[in-house]
């Protein structure tokens, strides 16, 4: 396969799907965070809160 970038325009349907996805995600992200919430380490560690408990 060539390393050259290939330009294939998005279809109207794909463009609309992208808009729908972004709207849905951004609406969902709009929920309150606990103001007292303490951020954990940025490296994902599922046990971080259990260790602190």
């Amino acid at each position: 396969m060539s390393d050259k970038e290939v330009n294939v325009p998005l279809t109207v349907e794909q463009k609309q799907e992208i808009v729908d996805i972004l709207e849905r995600i951004r609406a969902g992200l709009n929920i309150p965070l606990d103001s007292q919430f303490e951020e954990p380490a940025h490296i994902f560690n599922p046990g971080v809160f259990n260790a602190k408990k």
């Binding site: 969902g28 965070l33 919430f37």
Partner: protein, 454 residues
């Protein structure tokens, strides 16, 4: 499972007693694969390669050099695990059809144990869909009813097990891709804690959510397989603290939180099945809800879309036509999420983990249905349950994404059939890195269920 097929544990016993050889087991699996070829469970299956491995296993056993209890058992592999002797395509048109020349760590572990790598199984394109309808070789059909999906993205492995072609298979799980097909096909699936199982050589979908794991015909099968999944691997730094798997027992009372309430709706039929299963168990059950839980789905989407877009960016620029139209739109959307969007999603993820760890009280396991409603038909776009109409993709992922957002270990067990004959699964979630305890509890709980049903 559909028929009274032997599970992995029974197959191992048959090999040990001489009742079966690896060649006889592999021949049976090849015959069944042909019989059930209409399910479209396999991308590639090579009779000669499978039998060569089986012959070698039988020679080892005859010479007293058996490598492990699972030496000689045929196991199916999802087509996103690198295998040195088979091509790895992730069921995408974007990858060349050539053997990769290397094995994923888990494949290497299984080869060292003498397993017959039986073939590569169908999956959703790049594992980025929950139904196994979106594959470049076509959908996998559910062995219980071929008008219905298997669930994805490890649908090929699930169908191969449920139809009795093999007793166990490999999957990967980013939002439920092991648990959803296992539940929809009436088998068992285990998603390890994030960081317990090596992701090296498993093509990524979303690196902070991905977890490779087994699908099988019983919980004891899962117990046999987990030693080859769990443990430190220098090639995957997320496993630096991963202990080797050790069998444990759980003899104390089981404290269960059954998650219910807004955002955790399910059909009446599924709700009744889970409540009956919990009543039949000896567990102490408390119901609890979670605030804003339905919005965590979009936080999960922000993480998976952005990480997948980042990973696929080079290939997307070189070969956009190699992706299906729908997947390309998802990846383009992921690349347009802002840094603030993704950071907000990560903060919500942390908040969810904090809630699970600190605000639900004492618990040994958290229980939900695996799916809120039985598997949709192949063409069904929307499902209705609990007074809601939900896109079929979202309904499949409804509960399962919680396991990936938190990174907690999860197992799905079959708890019966719906009135229409489709399987119902129950999901048990354990504490992080306590995969062994989760499995021990699942075994104890299932044993109580079986006694009750007798």
């Amino acid at each position: 499972m559909l028929k009274n097929n032997k599970n992995l544990t029974e197959q191992c016993a048959d090999l040990a007693s001489g009742k079966e050889t690896s060649v006889s087991l592999t021949m049976k699996a090849l015959d069944k694969a042909e019989e059930y070829s209409y399910l479209n469970a396999f991308v590639v299956l090579d009779r000669e390669k499978s039998l060569d491995q089986a012959v070698a296993s039988d020679k080892r056993r005859a010479n007293g050099n058996c490598l492990s209890p699972i030496d000689g058992v045929p196991i199916a592999v999802k087509d996103n695990y690198l295998t040195k002797d088979y091509p790895t395509t992730a069921c995408s048109g974007a990858l060349p059809l050539e053997p990769s020349g290397q094995d994923a760590t888990i494949i290497a572990n299984l080869r060292e144990a003498g397993v017959v790598i039986f073939g590569k199984t169908n999956m959703d394109e790049w594992a980025f869909s929950p139904t196994n309808v979106n594959s470049n070789i076509g959908p996998v059909l559910n062995p219980h009813n071929t008008n219905h999906v298997t669930g994805g993205s490890s649908g090929g492995s699930a169908a191969a097990i449920a139809s009795g072609i093999v007793s166990a298979g490999l999957g990967s799980d980013t939002g439920g891709s092991i648990r959803m097909p296992a539940a929809a096909c009436g088998i068992y699936g285990f998603k390890p804690s994030y960081g317990r199982a090596s992701r090296h050589g498993v093509l990524p979908l979303s690196w902070s959510l991905d977890a490779p794991g087994p699908l099988a015909s019983s919980l004891k099968d899962i117990e046999l397989l987990l030693p080859y999944f769990l443990g430190e691997d220098s090639k995957d730094l997320s496993t630096v603290s991963s202990a080797k798997f050790e069998v444990v027992e759980h003899n104390e009372a089981i404290n269960v939180i059954h998650l219910t309430g807004e955002g955790l709706e399910r059909s009446d039929e599924i709700d009744t099945a889970v409540k009956r299963a919990l009543e039949a168990s000896s567990a102490v059950v408390k119901e609890a809800g979670l605030s804003h839980v339905d919005n965590y789905y979009e936080a999960w989407e922000a993480i998976i879309f952005s990480e997948a877009a980042s990973y696929h960016q080079p290939l997307l620029k070189k070969n956009p036509g190699g992706f299906s139209s729908g997947l390309r739109a998802k990846l383009e959307a992921g690349s347009q999420l802002s840094a603030l969007d993704v950071l907000q999603a990560q903060r919500l993820r942390s908040q969810l983990m904090h809630t699970f760890a600190c605000e639900l009280g004492d618990w040994d396991i958290i229980v939900t249905p695996t799916l809120p409603v039985t598997a949709p038909t192949l063409n069904e776009e929307e499902q209705e349950f609990g007074g809601k109409k939900v896109h079929a993709h979202k309904s499949m992922l409804w509960f399962c994404v919680l396991g990936n957002m938190t990174g907690y270990p999860c197992v799905t067990i079959p708890i019966g059939l719906s009135k229409s004959g489709l399987p119902i699964g129950m999901m048990l979630m354990g504490k992080p890195n306590e995969d062994e305890k989760l499995l021990a509890i699942a075994i104890k709980l299932e044993s109580a269920l079986k006694k009750h049903s007798v």
